[in-house]
Amino acid sequence: MTTTPTSNEVDRPYPPIAWLTTSALGLIIIGGVLLASYAPRRAPLAVAVALLVAGAVCLITAWAMLSRLKVFSWPTFTKVFKWALLAYVIEAGVIEFAFVRDHTRGSSLLIVSLMLVIFATSVPSTIAFTVARYAEVTP
């Protein structure tokens, strides 16, 4: 018996999108650990910026790959992404608030904020992609 690519019985092959979004998260977490381990001193910002840029590249590459998918359940992705984004924006907000309360200012705060933006978007991207890749696609 044959199955169509949109059927729920087959796992459609996809580019390594979840690997890339999770790598972005990993790089950002390494950067966060680096910044936190130096607090309240000033961390070596060059390393933190390099990790931030590498994380951003991973995430943007993942989104570029996502945007080129033809057989994909975009309604499922959008629905899950929206709700997960809401949850992780709240979580990132709590972390940002803690850094602001701890008097993190200037370029350190900017790097932390950008890292939190990647954190708050990479996790929802991973969750939404993992769910949508198995969702049935309406032809």
């Binding site: 999770t22 977490i29 381990s37 607090a39 709590v94 803690a98 309360r101 996790v123 969750i127 198995y134």
Partner: protein
Amino acid sequence: MTDTVDVAAHTAPPGPPGLRPKIAVVPLRGLPFSALALAIVVVGIATNWKWLLMFSHVVGGAMWTALDLFVGLVLGPIMGRMSIPARAEFASKFMPAMVIIMPTVVTMNLGAGFQVARFIGNLSPSNPNHAWLIGSFCVVGLMAVIALGVLEPANIAVIFEMNKPVPNGARIERLMKRFIYTAGITGILQVATLVIMTRLTSR
């Protein structure tokens, strides 16, 4: 293909496809508790109230550690030995609860924990506990990547798969295994956290 359909029939929540109740991905009843927990952390950070921060850190950490150890090292192996319908029935109740509980206890623990470290001076490089603290950051970072990048997406994907009219049983099995194995890894990493935290408080 026949195997897949057969397993699907066993793995789906009980009842014919049309009559099966939908599983709530996010149990709305749990949201007020989650909001309250986050509010406690925010108030603790905003007011620099040491007791409230310590309370959030200890409660969040104790729940996180206990859950990871219990799910990874006790519940996981038990679930592996359950019949497929029993496992499906259990997972349909258990997985949505984890969607609310885990992010809440992790935020309570980490959000308050950093402030506690600052308060009691462990963040200072001259503090003898500093190296242990950095060690705990690394362990927590690794757990966060595993939990947020692998475990939680698998958890939510299982619930969505179970809600389909004809779930793919083989896929649910695979995602559940991923959930249980990663919970086991984070459970083992929690042992390292316990060692570090007890070292920190006993010096």
